[in-house]
């Protein structure tokens, strides 16, 4: 290392991108037609246009504090053109964005200087702005039930904080403020011990400040995590009530009456009753610490209680209601279980005890992945439907509600009908002009709906047990008519029939007598053929053609399937020109044509090819047939991939969909992709005909019917239908899957559901819903994989332009938290987790218009112990010794052992090599040394060991294999950290030297030099420590620069700092100099890993993820 080289410029870290929990949301209704959603993501304020989902602007508000709340205020008396002001807080920080700043933010013009960040003496739970005496003022409520007032300067900037006022100082878990007018603020606080304190604060009183405790509510049995004060609700002309909503650790939601019925406001507040506070007494759970005598009866003001959610409830909010209380009041709750639930509160105002009521549970929407909805907002503007927005720990924002936006919906109506057979009959009789058939008698309990089919977006048809066919045209609501059928057809279709929609305005029917009918809209039904037995099914041949369509017809007990072909030109349908010979006991359940190959799927999961016959015979024998070994459930659909003549997708009742590719000459196919979307049984799939096709699936999940966009991972509709195994049909416009209709039978009624747009819309995409534990980048920086406590692996690409990162695939197979990830090249990924799981994934890019990554699990490590309860903490691979054919794999298990295997990617098999057993301490990090044999392992006891081949000679006759099985020997053991080594990176030898950087639970960064002695044994050159490198454990570390005379290391820590270090030889060529090049706040709590994702960029993963640039200081 030369001393004379020119000095390197300092290296600097620069924030580039963050995806982290959404911790604050607020609607800003700027004008009658412009609504914005304000979101807090880490230190950033992000402004979205509600109508278009576009990110309008973003602003970094605080230096090192996530935003926890936003209050958008707009002068009530002002005209709609004046902008409002935003009050933003987080932790102890607070900032006001003045109207002029808000204006430039919304318009995207150059921003004036950022206002000052003020510090409040305590944690802030809520804040408001209001105008009082013509001046804009503000107030904050803190975690100790204190009010801090804010004074604004004339240009709307925060100017000064007022004194702190409180009637008593319990620790709160939630608080809410409302301005009552007349210089009065209403405060509600929820305590750790389940109490709720409601008090009033009088602003304008001359010092000392005046306050008054109104109520102390007891009833919750756990910490109160959310309180919300309703607006004044008009229940009758001139009569108003005000409610308080609360939610708690005890899983209940409670509504309280806080209507102020005292006419005169008593101005009696004043001093803290120091005697009561100073008395020696027991407090805590059950102690009702704050309840004084006069508040003993407050809890009779409880209006309603309901229990909901699977875990803790974080927020409760009031939604829309009809003034005069003609309908219920909507209440929303948001929980740790990532659901948003809607409740209807109905009130009875007649009683003498004040209003009493009931909360009725209406809907549960699961909006986010992982755990926790951290923020929620409900817009409340009279005469308009509320918007409801949620922000998750996953960084996603989901929105719903509002009045439908014209143009965005798919032209479908909104209805949900449930009709008895007689209801439909009655409509038919009302609507019919000149019936030529006998009207069906009403009141026959045996009459039932049988099959359903959509003829088009606006026309649906159903067969019935009496053999009659009803059709409905949909204008606003369905209008039922009966289709005129000859008597013999009615008799033929009676009690049994099959019906499928095969093309626009066209269905095919089959009867038990073997007759096949064609029914086209506007035409009479016609018989197109007769087969030898009961028609089992009609399977549209997907991909065969739109005008000239085909269908496969199966007959009970027949070993052949028949092809029905329609010629649009001649308007002729013919059967039997071509037949498919079926394998034994084969029941076909799906059919498609890919290129010129027909593919069938069976009831037990077999996929069978029928390549075009060469000798022009009429009967094609089955070609290659294959069943996924893990399934025996029916294939429900086969769909060719758009723009591909060889790839196709199958859906299966086992809840998975798979993508296969036909091999050369169409004589076989291989699996590329296997995924379980969040539904139990997939019943069908299609691709949108948009510029970028999206994959839409439908199926059942428990009692729900799910309509799902797999490309965006969004549930488009979830309808309670009673469970699988029922007749149904669905339709969506091909370009807009958000519009959706479903018709099905439920308890002998016909249910007909229609939605113009999805109930939930993703405003901003998210990521993992739990802490990321590993980040790994593929060999050429093509893909980034992240893995988290939520057991999910995500594969991303990064682009320097917005939106920064894009998720290409989510891999769900692990059953416990993932510990470690590593790529082999760009197309193979290995992951390890608790429960002794280690999977090898194969990643392929599919050649189709449908942009997706195909992913399948290629191999599963299966040397598990009986209980499968060890964690695979870390692993590494090497292909040095096998000459690149097999991979050597070394894994570190939580029982203090390291195992080596040889992995054969062709067969997907592992062969055990040898074992190394340490003292009992848990291994944390593992790396192969560059020779591909020796293994470096770091342990919880702070030591680093190098395990080598045992040094004994194998007996002359023994095979190499046997020698292999001997336990590994310890080549080196060196103490580095005081306790657990949490992060490690190493760079390759230079002149027989290695440099190892480690980060410990002991806050230290240690650089170790390693070399070989004359005997070829490992030897420590030097150990250099920065003791208090971070304020907390150093949980992620990466060597980002490795040059002749220096290395640079990026470290991250639980202390939420990202640091860049430089290590270079000491001034006199001895020892080592370490300098801290940069030190920045990182928004990622509980950081788990840091990885280089392209030149000059690192990604940090933890609670969310961040991208940082590192560059020479200019």
């Amino acid at each position: 290392m030369a001393q004379t080289s020119p000095p390197h410029p300092q290296t600097q870290l620069q924030h580039n991108f963050v995806l982290s929990p959404i911790t604050a949301l607020e609607f800003y209704l700027a004008g009658p037609s412009s609504s914005y959603l304000l979101a807090g993501e880490d230190t950033w304020l992000k402004i979205y246009d509600v109508a278009t989902s576009h990110l309008v602007n973003q602003l970094r508000v605080f230096r090192s504090q996530p935003i926890h709340g936003i209050h958008a205020w707009k002068s009530e008396d002002g005209t709609s053109t004046t902008e409002g002001a935003f009050l933003i807080w987080g932790g102890q920080s607070v900032m006001v964005l003045s109207p002029s700043l808000v204006k430039s933010l919304i318009q995207g013009t150059a921003l004036p200087e950022l206002p000052t960040e003020f510090q409040v003496p305590d944690w802030i739970y809520d804040g408001i702005l209001f105008s009082s005496n013509g001046e804009v003022q503000g107030a904050l409520v803190t975690a100790h039930n204190e009010i801090v007032t804010l004074t604004l300067s004339s240009n709307g900037n925060l100017f000064q904080l007022g004194p702190v006022v409180s009637p008593s100082r319990p620790i709160l878990y939630s608080a809410n403020l409302t301005f009552l007018g007349n210089g009065t603020i209403l405060v509600a606080g929820g305590t750790v011990f389940g109490e709720i304190i409601v008090w009033k604060f009088h602003l304008d009183s001359s010092p000392p400040p005046q306050w008054e405790v109104l109520y102390v509510f007891t009833g919750h049995e756990g910490s109160v995590f959310g309180v919300t004060i309703s607006p004044e609700i008009e229940v009758a002309p001139g009569s108003k009530i005000r409610l308080l909503g609360s939610c708690s650790d005890d899983r209940t939601i409670r509504i309280w009456d806080i209507t102020d019925r005292q006419l005169a406001v008593t101005q009696n507040g004043g001093e803290i009753d120091s005697k009561t506070l100073g008395e020696a007494r027991e407090t805590g759970f059950g102690g009702n610490s704050e309840v004084k005598e006069e508040n003993k009866n407050d809890s009779t003001r409880g209006v309603a209680v309901a229990m909901g959610h699977l875990s803790r409830i974080w927020h409760v909010k009031f939604g829309e209601y009809t003034p005069g209380l003609e309908g219920p009041i909507n209440v929303y709750s948001f929980g740790e279980d990532t659901t948003r639930q809607r409740w209807e509160l109905s009130l009875d105002l007649a009683g003498s005890q004040g209003p009493k009521g009931a909360l009725k549970h209406c809907t549960t929407d699961s909006c986010h992945s992982g755990k926790n909805i951290w923020s929620a907002a409900v817009s409340n503007r009279e005469g308009q439907a509320s918007f409801i927005a949620t922000g998750g720990a996953d960084g996603k924002i989901v929105i719903s509600g509002g009045n439908p936006t014209p143009g965005l919906d798919g032209g479908y109506e909104e209805f949900d009908l449930s009709l008895a057979f007689d209801d439909v009959l009655e409509q038919i009789q009302r609507n019919s002009e000149t019936p030529s058939m006998d009207p069906l008698p009403k009141g026959n309990a045996k009459h039932a709906f049988q099959k359903y089919a959509f003829l088009s977006d606006s026309r649906v048809i159903t067969t019935t047990s009496p053999g009659r066919i009803f059709a409905a045209g949909i204008q606003e609501t369905p209008k039922w008519k009966e289709i005129q059928l000859p008597d013999e057809v009615v008799a033929d279709l009676r009690s049994y029939n099959v019906m499928k929609s095969v093309a626009m305005d066209t269905v095919v029917l089959g009867s038990s007598a073997g007759n096949i009918y064609l029914l086209q809209h506007g035409k009479s039904i016609r018989l197109v053929g007769k087969l030898s037995g009961k028609i089992q099914d009609v399977l549209p041949l997907v991909g065969a053609g739109v005008q000239d369509w085909q269908a496969v017809i199966t007959v009970l007990g027949d070993d052949r399937a028949y092809i029905l072909s329609y010629n649009a030109l001649t308007d002729e349908a013919t059967i039997g020109g071509l037949t498919l010979s079926l394998p034994e006991h084969y029941i076909a359940t799906a059919a498609a044509q890919v290129g010129s190959t027909i593919i069938l799927g069976s009831r037990v999961g077999v996929v069978t090819l029928y390549p075009p016959s060469e000798d022009n015979t009429d009967t094609i024998p089955p070609g290659y047939s294959c069943r996924d070994p893990k399934t025996k459930d029916a294939i429900t659909a086969i769909v060719p991939l758009p723009g591909s003549s060889s790839d196709f997708l199958t859906t299966c009742r086992d809840g998975k969909y798979r993508i296969y590719s036909l091999g050369k000459e169409n004589c076989a196919f291989t699996l590329y992709h296997e995924i379980s979307p969040p539904m139990g049984m997939i019943e069908g799939a299609w691709f949108t005909s948009t510029e970028k096709p999206e994959l839409i699936l439908h199926g059942f999940k428990g009692k729900q019917f799910i309509h799902y966009n797999d490309t965006t991972s969004t549930v488009l509709a979830s309808i309670e239908c009673g469970g699988a195994h029922r007749s149904f049909d669905v339709i969506s416009p091909r370009t807009n899957p958000n519009a959706f209709r479903l018709i099905f039978t439920k308890s002998s009624h016909l249910r007909f559901y229609s939605q113009p747009s999805a109930s939930l819309r993703t405003l901003k995409e998210g990521g993992h819903g739990r802490e990321i534990r590993a980040v790994a980048c593929s060999a050429t920086f093509k893909y980034i994989a992240t893995a988290a406590e939520d057991t999910i692996i995500r594969i991303w690409t990064y682009s320097p332009t917005r939106p920064g990162i894009k998720c290409l695939a989510t891999l769900e197979k692990h059953s416990s938290g993932i510990q470690s990830l590593q790529w082999l090249g760009d197309d193979c990924l290995i992951s390890s987790a608790g429960s002794e799981e280690l999977f090898v994934w194969r990643i392929t890019q599919i050649d189709s218009h449908y942009e997706t990554l195909a992913v399948k699990c290629e191999a599963v490590w299966n040397f598990c112990t009986k209980d499968k309860d060890l964690r695979i903490m870390s692993f590494d691979t090497s292909n040095v010794s096998s000459g690149g054919v097999n991979h050597e794999l070394a894994i570190a298990l939580s029982n203090s052992t390291v195992h080596t295997y040889s992995y054969n990617p062709k067969s997907g098999e592992f062969e055990f090599g040898s074992e190394a057993r340490y003292t009992g301490a848990c291994p944390m990090q593992l790396r192969y040394m560059p020779n591909g044999e020796d293994i470096m392992v770091a342990y919880t006891d702070g030591r680093l060991a190098i395990w080598t081949r045992p040094l004994y000679e194998p007996p002359p006759q023994a095979e190499m294999k046997l020698a292999n099985k001997a336990p590994l020997g310890m080549g080196l053991l060196v103490k580095l950290h005081q306790s657990s080594i949490k992060s490690l990176d190493a760079v390759s030898p230079r002149g027989g030297r290695w440099i190892i950087a480690t980060g410990g639970d002991d806050n230290a960064l240690i650089i170790t030099e390693l070399g070989l002695d004359d005997m070829g044994k490992y030897k420590v050159g030097g150990r250099y420590r920065v003791s208090s490198a971070h304020g907390a454990a150093v949980t992620g570390l990466r060597i980002v620069r490795n040059e002749e005379d220096l290395i640079e290391v990026v470290t991250v820590s639980n202390g939420q700092r990202i640091k860049l270090w430089r290590a270079e030889p000491g001034r006199d060529g001895r020892g080592m100099r370490i300098s801290l090049q940069d030190n920045k706040y990182s928004g990622i709590a509980d950081a788990g890993d840091v990885e280089v994702i392209s030149s000059g960029k690192v990604m940090v993963g933890g609670v969310g993820l961040e991208v940082w640039d590192f560059n020479p200081l200019k």
């Binding site: 100790h144 100073g278 805590g284 549970h361 755990k371 209980d867 340490y918 944390m924 250099y1024 370490i1074």
Partner: protein, 380 residues
């Protein structure tokens, strides 16, 4: 997860049951004591956030029953054997020296300590323990100060006395308080720091000069601000991680030695520390700013301590990182490792059932209703 599966995954959980401790936390206190001799010359102790009471058990057994607990209580024999086999210990430190040091540090206590006083406080009730006064109270509540003073000194009268300083101060205040974490990291860290300040406020009222204070801390964002604030009151502040505390947890313990209240300082419940500006005022008054380069304990292990050049220009005002000390020696069971259980292993029931969570009723109701909350309701 089966019962013995937890025994396997968590050696201290198993040991606690075998040795009769109410919680595995007992080992954290024992291991802290091994490193810092916490109980040396100690007769009066306050144990805050003490339920279910394993720390109080330790106090009761050590101070009253005069029992001694050493590393044999948590030693993994096999680890010890493997360590000597793998030469983990001899390669670095001389074992003789080690044991000698060990003996030296084992001070000799009189057979029975006179006038032992142990007061334990928690929100949750603590089952009685010999010689321990247990109180149910919220340590963040102002009323807890007089309650504690009265328990320490029955003649204390909160009605008449405006003094919030204990007449007969204590030697040691320990606090293992932790909130139910929400998962919102900065909120959890804040709530934890409030518990720490509440414990410190109580300690400032009852601790005698020279006394010790030990409390749980979350090592997360801005923990260095907290360290610096504690340093205002104590000569030595270390952050310690016992081997029985999981490496994967943010938990650690702040060990503050030699209580030296700043000149003229009076603990006050009207002006508690932790909120408001009182602490930072005290920090400003402090004579010498604390320097980061305090020699660390591990300085003699052959690793070169680097003199760091800080070019980052970051503002470290009011920040200080307390030296880290791992405790519980190397042969201690590893709380992160999985252990093999003997073939005839019988999983013992816990010494005390855990306290009922507030959502207990919700779980019961769910069970009654067969899994869901009431009948499912049709959406829309």
């Amino acid at each position: 997860m089966g019962k013995s599966s937890k025994d396997k995954r968590d050696a201290y959980y198993r040991l606690a049951k075998e040795q009769g401790w109410r919680a595995r936390s007992a080992f954290k206190l024992l291991q802290l004591d091994e490193e810092f001799n916490l109980f040396e010359n100690v007769t009066r102790v306050v144990d805050l956030c003490a339920a279910p009471g394993s720390w109080s058990q330790v106090l009761s057994r050590v101070l009253i029953k005069n029992e001694k607990f050493g590393r044999h209580a948590w030693e993994d024999r096999e680890a010890k054997f493997r360590q000597s086999m793998l030469k983990v210990i001899p390669s670095e430190s001389k074992p003789q020296e080690n044991s000698q040091q060990h003996q030296e540090t084992k001070y000799v206590e009189p057979r029975s300590r006179p006038d032992v006083k142990i007061v334990s406080i928690d929100l949750q009730p603590i089952s009685p323990l010999p010689g321990v006064i247990t109180l149910r109270a919220d340590i963040t509540h102002p009323a807890t100060v007089p309650l504690l003073l009265k328990a320490l000194d029955p003649s204390h009268d909160s009605e008449t006395s405006t003094n919030q300083q204990a007449q007969q101060p204590v030697d040691l205040v320990i606090s293992d308080g932790a909130p139910d974490v929400t998962g919102l990291h900065d909120l959890d860290i804040y709530v934890q720091s409030q518990l720490l300040f509440a414990a410190l406020n109580l300690a400032l009222c009852v601790l005698k000069p020279g006394g010790k204070f030990v409390a749980k801390i979350f090592r997360g964002r801005n923990v260095d601000l907290l360290y610096a604030q504690l340093k205002v009151f104590f000569e030595k502040v270390n952050v310690a991680k016992p081997r029985s505390s999981r490496a994967s947890s943010v938990e650690a313990f702040i060990v503050c030695i030699n209580f030296q209240p700043p000149e003229g300082f009076k603990a006050s419940l009207e002006e508690p520390l932790g909120v408001g500006g009182r602490l930072s005022e005290l920090q400003q008054q402090q004579q010498d700013p604390i320097s980061q380069s305090e020699p660390s304990k591990a300085g003699d292990d052959g690793i070169t301590e680097v003199i760091l050049e800080d070019l980052s220009g970051s503002d470290n005002k009011n920040r200080w990182i307390a030296p880290f000390i791992a405790c519980g020696d190397l042969s201690a069971f590893d709380s992160d490792a999985s252990y093999k259980l003997a073939a005839d292993h019988v999983s013992l029931p816990p010494v005390q059932p855990p306290t009922a969570p507030p959502y207990k009723r919700a779980i019961e109701l769910r069970r009654q209703n067969g899994g869901a909350y009431g009948k499912p309701v049709v959406s829309k």
